[in-house]
């Protein structure tokens, strides 16, 4: 590895959700730096702000105060379209519920982010290689998500997250809906991607799963413990 570069930087970031019953402080003055190539597990009980942290890194939301820089860009200053482009080109999402698009078959799901980015479709080598890399059998390529098992869907979702060659992979309980053995397979895959240089930030409350990461960040009541 070359000199580590800080790819994500939280400086005094708070996230407050105003609710009629009173403001909810989801993140409370968080400072955090993550370097390129790290594999970070974010842990903590429910309501500790794990998902909020991940949503902010994923540019799905912006801080209420403080500065969050992703790849050197202060996301608080970006427009909705710029945030979307940052997400599309540099960040891959892996969800607990897999979140494949039911109308599209495996190949189409995988290439969808690239179609959004490059406005061209058509399965090419990169797409097939990815599906091969995540271990999905070619005969499943034309199946719809509903016809796949949970493990197979998550593999497709990982291939989709990787198609635009993002530097950052965000995983929200990636094994939460899978049995232990399948979960291990998915974690091996993530480890492999991390070795290839992807920065991975994974939310989990499973210590066994967190053990795959290099670093663990514990959140309690919106603060890093």
């Amino acid at each position: 590895m070359n000199e580590p570069e800080t790819i994500i930087r939280f400086v005094d970031v708070s996230k407050i959700y105003p609710l009629p019953a009173g403001d909810v402080v989801a993140l409370d003055h968080v400072d955090l730096e993550i370097e390129a190539g790290e594999f970070v597990a974010v842990m903590g009980p429910s309501g500790s702000g794990k998902s909020t942290l991940l949503n902010l890194i994923g540019c799905l939301d912006t801080p209420s105060s403080g500065t969050l820089s992703i790849k050197g860009k202060d996301i608080g200053t970006l427009s909705d379209d710029d945030l979307t482009r940052l997400r599309r080109d540099h960040i891959g999402f892996i969800f607990q519920q897999f979140n494949l698009i039911p109308l599209l078959d495996v190949i189409e799901n995988v290439e969808f982010p690239r179609v959004l980015k490059e406005r061209r479709s058509g399965c090419d080598e990169a797409c097939l290689e990815l599906l091969d890399a995540v271990g999905l059998e070619p005969e499943l390529h034309t199946h719809r998500p509903a016809e796949l098992s949970g493990g197979q869907q998550q593999r497709v979702a990982i291939a989709r997250a990787l198609i635009n060659e993002p530097e950052i992979l965000l995983a929200d309980e990636p094994t939460g809906n899978l049995d232990t053995k399948t979960g291990e397979g998915i974690m091996d895959l993530l480890t492999q991607m991390n070795r290839r240089g992807k920065t991975i930030i994974m939310v989990t409350h499973d210590t066994n799963i967190a053990a795959y990461a290099h670093r663990r960040v514990h959140l309690v009541d919106g603060r890093i413990a």
Binding site: L60, D80, R87, R88, P113, L116
Partner: protein, 399 residues
């Protein structure tokens, strides 16, 4: 293009719902197009049927007698005639323009073995060439016992110049066949037999006076003057005659047709509005149902505009599908309606040959209705699509 494919796949996923939404557009487009075509066909037919009568003033007995009877009472209508003295006065008022007094009666007509009823018109032999054109044979000479036969009647019975016909008990020779005239506001000879007025008096001795008087006004500018003079002379004390001019009557008829066409189009437009509401409804349901999917798309990099486009495509596809089906149906429907209209309006005439179903204006109505259908559909999709695009990814992902 993937968004377009998304749209079509989603519509196919909810086949029944999409079909029902499309049905609204189909009905709307069909209604506008076929009603437009119908209105246009009727107009075309009417224009073909109504003779270009030029500028004539028609004077009929005033039938609305106060006190006894009622307006249109058949007794007063049958009884009312214009007397010889009245005709003289009308002639004075006409100021040199040709005045033709007409008597009519229905009679049995026999041609060979066939028989039926026909209108018999009595005219002075001098007046006939002023009003009517011949398609074959000759006009009647003064005192001639022969007859002229209207075109439709001639066609129906195969009558030619030189044929023999019988009116009631009277046998007579046909001197000539008249040119087709169409529906006119003065004289309608197409389904009639024209004979000399003296012969008419002999044959129908109980018939007194005249049924109507036609003044052919050479200079259109004199029209009002002639009408006023007749009114002044005839109706000063009592309302004895009605005076109408053919051009005014024609305009009135055209106005009625125009109003009818607008009314039909209005009905069509209302059905399109209903279609728009149903599309709006379907699209709002679709957006609500697909919140989560929208969230996923947004989180993996779909821009707001792209999400909006996807839903607009859905509305577009619904609109195009509905308009194509509706357009095709109205093409067929318009054809059937027009044929029916032709059959009804031209029964017993030869005008049907001239009435075209695929008039450019009818085709324009169909294309216009289809365009309107597509535009309506897309317009109905704008709000739901905007709603979908405005959702933040997190909101949407929560479902």
């Amino acid at each position: 293009m993937i968004f377009f494919s998304f749209a079509t796949r989603n519509l196919r996923r909810h086949m029944v719902r999409s079909f029902l939404a499309t049905l609204g557009i189909v009905i709307g487009v069909f209604a506008i197009a076929s009603l437009g075509v119908m209105g246009n066909s009727i107009n075309l037919l009417a224009a073909g049927l109504i003779a270009d009568v030029g500028d004539t003033v028609v004077i009929t007995p005033h039938t609305a007698l106060g006190g006894e009877g009622f307006v249109g009472d058949p007794r007063t209508m049958v009884a009312a005639t214009i007397s010889e003295a009245d005709v003289d006065r009308i002639e004075r008022a006409a100021g040199g323009n040709p005045v033709v007094a007409v008597v009519e009666e229905a009679a049995d007509l026999r041609v060979g073995n066939e028989g039926g009823y026909a209108q018999v018109i009595g005219l002075a032999t001098d007046d006939i060439p002023d009003l009517l054109d011949l398609s074959e044979g000759n006009y009647l000479r003064p005192g001639s016992p022969a007859a002229l036969v209207g075109s439709v009647l001639a066609e129906e019975y195969g009558i030619r110049a030189g044929s023999r016909i019988a009116l009631g008990d009277e046998e007579m020779r046909v001197a000539g066949v008249l040119e087709e005239r169409g529906f006119a506001f003065d004289i309608n000879p197409d389904y009639a037999v024209v004979i000399e007025r003296d012969r008419f008096r002999e044959q129908f001795p109980e018939k007194k006076g005249y049924d109507y008087v036609v003044i052919t006004v050479a200079d259109p500018d004199e029209m009002e003057g002639v009408k006023a003079a007749v009114e002044n002379l005839m109706n000063r004390r009592d309302e004895t005659v009605d005076v109408t001019d053919s051009r005014e009557s024609l305009n009135q008829v055209n106005e009625i047709y125009d109003a009818m066409g607008r009314f039909l189009l209005g009905i069509g437009a209302v059905s399109l509005v209903i279609a728009a509401v149903s599309i709006l409804n379907v699209m709002i349901i679709s957006v609500t149902e697909r919140r989560h999917e929208i969230g996923v798309m947004r989180s993996i990099g779909a821009l707001r505009g792209e999400v909006m486009r996807m839903f607009l495509y859905e509305a577009l596809v619904l609109g195009i599908a509905g308009s194509l089906i509706g357009g095709a149906l109205s093409f067929v429907g318009g054809y059937v309606i027009s044929l029916a209209a032709i059959a009804v309006f031209t029964a017993g005439t030869t005008f049907a040959e001239g009435a075209t179903v695929f008039d450019p204006l009818s085709v324009a109505y169909i294309l216009g209705a289809m365009l309107f259908g597509v535009v309506t559909s897309v317009a109905a999709g704008v709000y739901p699509a905007w709603q979908a695009a405005q959702m933040t990814p997190i909101e949407a992902l929560r479902g």
